[in-house]
Symmetry: C2
Subunit: 138 residues, 2 copies
Amino acid sequence: MAEAAHLAIGDLARLTGTKVNTIRFYEEGGLLPQAERTASGRRIYRDADTKRLAFIRQSRNLGFPLDAVRELLTLADDANQPCEAVDRIARVHLAEIDRKIADLSALRSELSRVIGSCSHGTVADCKIIETLAPHTDG
Amino acid sequence: MAEAAHLAIGDLARLTGTKVNTIRFYEEGGLLPQAERTASGRRIYRDADTKRLAFIRQSRNLGFPLDAVRELLTLADDANQPCEAVDRIARVHLAEIDRKIADLSALRSELSRVIGSCSHGTVADCKIIETLAPHTDG
DNA sequence: ATACAACCTCCAGTTACTGTAGGAGCAAGC
DNA sequence: GCTTGCTCCTACAGTAACTGGAGGTTGTAT
Ligand SMILES: [Zn+2]
Ligand SMILES: [Zn+2]
Ligand SMILES: [Zn+2]
Ligand SMILES: [Zn+2]
């Protein structure tokens, strides 16, 4: 039961591995509620804030964009609903990741091919440069 | 010999599949030279500009960042140099792509695992939400 | 009393564009 | 000659998610 009554923004930052500016950024974007303030205007946080920020950070670590995190936070607050919406958000995100991987893989294969075609002469003969330049044959 | 003497920015845009604003953006960023102007201030382009822009676009299609494109353009103008520097830029870029693919693949596998663990009950029991929330066990 | 750390607000910068506002120029048709 | 409509011009805001810094105040420790 020996819990700190409240935390300063720097404490919260340390606890969650978040930059102070980022915490303020989340507040501005509505991901965290407007923090209580001391008489002199400093932000005060409690356990619930720490948990909420940890949730945000974990979501970000899984790559969810902030819009998705916002939705996940709302859903998480409604414990009795079915988790369908949660699943859907996660699957949409997974599909997006798959798309990115596919794009990068195609790029990688093309770039690798181009690099492999270089026979290390002068720029005039370089196949890499040739690939980039417009083809003026006809 | 029936070549157009000069092109308007819209013509260049059409020829290269580039947005007009993007061409101006490249000029501002030094990737394209300051365009000649008509008496009324409109930009004029010639074949060399079309080629340069095509080179930029092709480089971008291979994912090179603009800083790299700038270097590649400089190198391409110096035909007698060895192409070492070109190769190096390309390989650095390839390494970056590989890094991104690795990051995304790790993310994908973790996210996929999390999604698979959901047994479709209420939010209170959802393993996805549980994964995102901080663990209060001990 | 005096450092010095930590806090505050506001704003610029990152990447590579994209879109828009507000205005001027140019070609075609009448 | 005039209007219509397309293209062009500059300049700036917005995108995603922060990050860093300037300039100023507050809290704490010596
Ligand atoms: Zn080479
Ligand atoms: Zn080469
Ligand atoms: Zn489910
Ligand atoms: Zn679930």
